[in-house]
């Protein structure tokens, strides 16, 4: 009876062979996940990879086609009601009623969780306090900044004191400062023992927040592990530099192809070129300088760095962490912490 003592040992989320298609589009093609209680799983992938579909199935919004998914031990299809009592969900946009105040928003959610009026009120006060919204509690939510709205949205997802929290791209569209604030809040939730599944397009976000990361692309898990393990896949350090004269990118790539362990990668928009150099570190850096100089290519910001998840994604998929545009065009994602306003919610 291993299951008897096993409630604590059972994963909070267990997904086996999950599939889902929309007409011709195979959004999920057999996904496996296991998230131990009290940990954070980062689901990383470009737009359209299947992240949101997976979250929608796990939160009972969408029926899977094949495979099974358990949340807190409850089957998301057969025991959807029990799943709903165990989870909280915050999606890509702030799902709040903008005309109402922050307090009213939370009180109404509390009532819908069947709390009594006094308890719903109390819960709203506590959450507003916890999320630094007490001063704005009685203002209409439409007067809030984007960051405040997302905090209110996150607070709303916690009204029911969920054991498992799903955050679908919680910082998409936020400015860098609000993003850092959001990260702090998310960390504090995890410290309280909540199990968290977080989807993101931002590699640094998964790196910062998640214990385990799975990388999803085209409906399949293409890699899983800790951030360090995934970085280990790249196999060592990376030499990276910028070519100010974009027309010389080709020459630069040819020049450093000899020193790299894999194919160099060049971003034509930003002029950033990178190549994995294994364990040869500074030796490779010197060679890079020599080869680039020999080819007469002027470069800036030449550096040796530890691999980022960006490099991991590149090594795993052969393309950068991109977003699929609705018209099928692919577009490179900028590196680093800068957020992009171009992210749109794709129908899924």
């Amino acid at each position: 009876m291993s299951q008897v003592n096993g409630v604590g040992g059972q994963p909070a989320i267990l997904v086996e062979g999950l599939t889902k298609s929309f007409g011709e589009v195979h959004a999920l093609r057999g996904i496996d996940l296991s998230v131990p209680r009290g940990t954070v799983l980062g689901v990383l992938g470009p737009n359209g990879a299947g992240k949101t579909t997976a979250v929608r199935i796990l939160t009972t919004l969408l029926l899977p086609e094949g495979g099974r998914a358990l949340v807190e031990g409850y089957d998301v299809v057969r025991e959807a009601a029990a799943v709903r009592r165990s989870i909280g969900l915050a999606g890509q946009s702030a799902a709040i009623q903008e005309e109402l105040t922050g307090r009213e928003n939370l009180e109404i959610i509390g009532r819908l969780y069947h709390l009594s009026w006094p308890r719903a009120r109390r819960r709203a006060i506590d959450l507003l306090e916890q999320f630094g919204l007490s001063d704005a509690a009685d203002r209409a939510a439409k007067t809030y900044s984007g960051g405040m709205q997302r905090r209110l949205d996150l607070a709303a997802s916690l009204v029911g004191q969920p054991k498992v929290l799903f955050l679908d791209e919680p910082t998409t569209g936020l400015d860098p400062r609000s993003r850092l604030g959001m990260w702090d809040i998310i960390r504090s939730l995890v410290a309280d023992g909540t199990t968290l599944l977080l989807t993101t397009q931002y590699l640094d976000e998964a790196d910062e927040l998640a214990n385990e990361i799975v990388v999803i692309d085209h409906g399949l898990v293409i890699a899983a592990g800790t951030s360090e393990e995934l970085k280990g896949r790249v196999g060592g350090d990376v030499v990276e530099f910028t070519v100010p004269d974009r027309s010389r990118i080709g020459d630069a790539v040819t020049a450093i192809a000899k020193i790299g362990e894999g194919e160099p990668h060049a971003d034509k928009e930003t002029g950033v070129v990178s190549v994995g150099v294994g364990g040869r570190g500074s030796e490779a850096l010197v060679e890079a300088v020599r080869h680039l100089d020999g080819a007469g290519v002027e470069v800036r910001d030449l550096a040796l760095r530890r691999p980022s998840l960006d490099d991991v994604f590149l090594a795993l998929t052969g393309h950068a962490a991109e977003e699929e545009q609705p018209n099928g065009r692919r577009r490179g994602r900028r590196r680093g912490r800068g957020t992009s306003k171009t992210v749109e919610r794709t129908a899924s």
């Binding site: 008897v4 409630v7 919004l61 409850y74 025991e79 709903r84 999606g91 009623q97 969780y113």
Partner: protein
């Protein structure tokens, strides 16, 4: 071995039918309250709902009305008001479709569907709140009608019955609107063409002119469509005259709309994404 009951995957004891019905009622009331709060916070909603029918009353009463010959006790204004009231009820449902499309797009409906609340409550609460809103709008328009010379001439009870029929008609259209809003799921599209069919349906009826003034081919449509049945019944209730035949036809049509579109709306809500 008591822990066996906690076996992972074992259904937790689900609340009984009575408890769940109680929740469905309180959840519906909570959603209704929320929607009415939103409505009261934005006075513009009321103004926009009311201003269009008021302009129609004034336009037809004072501009076109003189050119439209009717044989109605009290003249054209009495002919006009039941038509305007029915149209007001129908057009008030734009709000239903737009609000649901907005909530869908913003993820509000996703959040509510992921919560352990009654799934029927979001639609039910929307319809209850919108019916109250519609009723208030109708009463305001009747007030405006009285100011420009309209009078109920058939007594109090039939007048109340007329308002009730207009409301039931409005709710039927609201169910279609709810379905449209959820199925289209995009505020701008809903606004642009989601309910555009309401215009021919209300104008090609007995709402503004006697059908006998229309060309023959148009009469064939106008005479036999539900909006005309409803408006002719309302006129009979407001001003006196035969009611029964039109009332039955109205009720059959309205029942048909509920039977067809309620399941469609519920299905659209369940599948909403």
């Amino acid at each position: 071995m008591t822990a066996v009951a906690e076996r992972v995957g074992a259904p937790r004891s689900e609340p009984g039918l009575r408890v769940r019905f109680g929740w469905a009622v309180t959840d519906t009331l909570t959603i209704t309250r929320r929607n009415l709060l939103v409505w009261m916070r934005v006075p513009a909603y009321l103004v926009f709902t009311v201003i269009q029918p008021v302009m129609f009353v004034l336009l037809f009463r004072y501009v076109f009305g003189g050119a439209i010959p009717v044989h109605t006790v009290g003249g054209y204004v009495n002919f006009l008001m039941p038509g305007i009231i029915a149209q007001t009820a129908a057009f008030a449902t734009f709000g239903t479709a737009i609000a649901l499309a907005q909530e869908l797009k913003k993820g509000v409906i996703d959040r509510l569907r992921s919560m352990p609340m009654a799934r029927s409550a979001v639609l039910a609460g929307r319809l209850v709140a919108d019916t109250l809103r519609m009723l208030i709008t109708i009463l305001i328009i009747i007030g405006v009608g009285y100011a420009v010379g309209f009078r109920f001439t058939n007594g109090f009870v039939p007048a109340v019955a007329m308002v009730a029929l207009a409301t039931v008609f409005g709710v039927a259209i609201a169910v279609i609107s709810a379905y449209t809003g959820l199925a289209i799921g995009d505020e701008e599209s809903v606004q642009a063409f989601g309910l555009i069919w309401l215009f021919p349906l209300t104008f090609l009826s007995s709402a503004f002119v006697p059908i006998s003034t229309m060309p023959g081919w148009l009469q064939a449509f106008a005479k036999n469509q539900p909006v005309t049945y409803v408006i002719d019944t309302m006129r009979g209730l407001a001003l006196g005259g035969p009611v029964e035949a039109n009332l039955w036809k109205s009720l059959v049509w309205l029942a048909g709309i509920f039977v067809v579109f309620s399941p469609l709306a519920v299905r659209a809500y369940r599948r909403a994404s």
